[in-house]
Symmetry: C2
Subunit: 346 residues, 2 copies
Amino acid sequence: MPRGDASSALITDVLEEYGSATREALFEYIPSGEPRESLYDLCADYPRRGGRAMRPSLCIATARAFGRSVGEALLTAVSIEMLHNAMLIHDDIEDESEKRRGLPALHVTEGVPIAINVGDMLTLLSLRPLLDNGERLGPSLALRLLEETERMGRESAEGQAIELGWRRDNPSDVSEADYLLMVLKKTCWLATIHPVHAGALIGTAGRFPSEPVLRFGYLLGAAFQIQDDVLNLIGDEARYGKEIGGDIHEGKRTLMLIHLFEHATQGERDRLHQLMAQPRADRSAKDVQWVYEAMLSYDSVGYAQRFAQGLAGAAQYEFDRLFGSLPDSRDKRFIASLPAWVIERS
Amino acid sequence: MPRGDASSALITDVLEEYGSATREALFEYIPSGEPRESLYDLCADYPRRGGRAMRPSLCIATARAFGRSVGEALLTAVSIEMLHNAMLIHDDIEDESEKRRGLPALHVTEGVPIAINVGDMLTLLSLRPLLDNGERLGPSLALRLLEETERMGRESAEGQAIELGWRRDNPSDVSEADYLLMVLKKTCWLATIHPVHAGALIGTAGRFPSEPVLRFGYLLGAAFQIQDDVLNLIGDEARYGKEIGGDIHEGKRTLMLIHLFEHATQGERDRLHQLMAQPRADRSAKDVQWVYEAMLSYDSVGYAQRFAQGLAGAAQYEFDRLFGSLPDSRDKRFIASLPAWVIERS
């Protein structure tokens, strides 16, 4: 795997460049009219908070690696970033998350009704750049990208439904395979599979197959998600932007929790099961601390980190199969650096 | 206006016929796979409860009045009905409605998180029939119908944002004009403007102008909404399917409430303002009863009924300008009968 300061600087540069281009174009798609205070100002709230812009950058970089211009992929990248922000708003309500990108979540400041509606509006607005694609890319490729977006949205909502079902029913037998299927749907489709596939479709006038992208995107996205869950436990709150230990507090199923369930004593398992069944408000800081320490003592965190490393290595291998024959370019190197980066970031 | 049993029977027949065709095709678009219990079974819940199917029927009837087949308009009608149900799920959460079509609202039985996600999935699924339109109607008209759908969705979300802003800020100076703009956006675009315009676009291969449809749809849709608000006060709960007086309980701005605000004494206005500022749970049955009786004593209900009649008459006039030159047909007669029907139904 490529490592070190050089590839880290490359990633920072590319995310900065494509992220700025995406955000600038994104704000053009948020109407400036009324209603402002209960709608359009709030549509711009999460995007204005920043974020890494990994998803739109991945789309643009893939199209560029195939020799296309930033402009040909930009509207699709804007749509991806808007839909990502729309989903964050609804996910934050559904997951009872209190913070997002270092600030209070939208439903915390505006209330659930307005936040639901803002998320709905951002979803609708995310269709507009895809419709505008028709002029530049032709109606057939524009329709194809809309189809892929709809597929990605469904996969994401299925993943969310699986996780919400777990929270409601509190099953104690969630396996690693169940968890990975949930991550494939809830995280990977939007974070990696769709951006890479959309970029490759733009790069090949609609002829790029989805199946190998699915494999690469799954491995990269799952490594990303597991590392994200690890950072939620052992990260630095100021840099991470969400409350540390928040996942335990929310009762979220993670690889660490599944590992802990499988290795803990019966008594610990019973306590864990009971804890997870409670409403969020009934889980105390002491409970969270107990789970956290158990995860450390059973090496559940180390296990998850090694798991993510394995996925990242496999993603590197799939990258070579998928894009190895493309000519060398900054964009190709950017994508090639991501598997190592997602597990090394803090 | 056409009146009497004959036109009422025609409307019942057409709604029955096009409603069944739409529902049958709609259920084909709900995936049969997993996750079922936390997602796809619930996507079918509201559609399975029935409803008048006025929106999809209006789309099909308009296309038919232009000489097209049911099949050419069916996928668009399915999309309209799906999006309508998606919005109902989110609106019921946002408006704290407890019942829908005679049964508990989805968020009451499944909780808010799952209900938000089911609404999101139905929104995504509503795009699929529009994408499938490409095969039958060609990619250009398919893209055009997607654009119109996105516009309609935005108008609806703007209308919802206006109303949610009122609920949050509790202004006492909402005027009739403010109310009618909100209704235009929140109700008319989805209930009448979009179904008629989409049907006319299908009927004319994309060449029908939007402006005259906007006028007809606004007048018809506003008459419909005001009558709906009247029925919420004086209707029969079993037939209406929602709790009677629920709008007052929810603190919803209606034409009756605006009329009451304008005609009540200062003391009554102060009490009304205070009542509207409370959370829903703090408004008692006694408060609701007081508002209800004040609306009757100031003839606010009669005023709203006469207002709706005026709008329906104007809708009738616009219908003749819009579709008068089309050859006589059952579908044309169906649309022509709607202005009278929306204010006569109970």
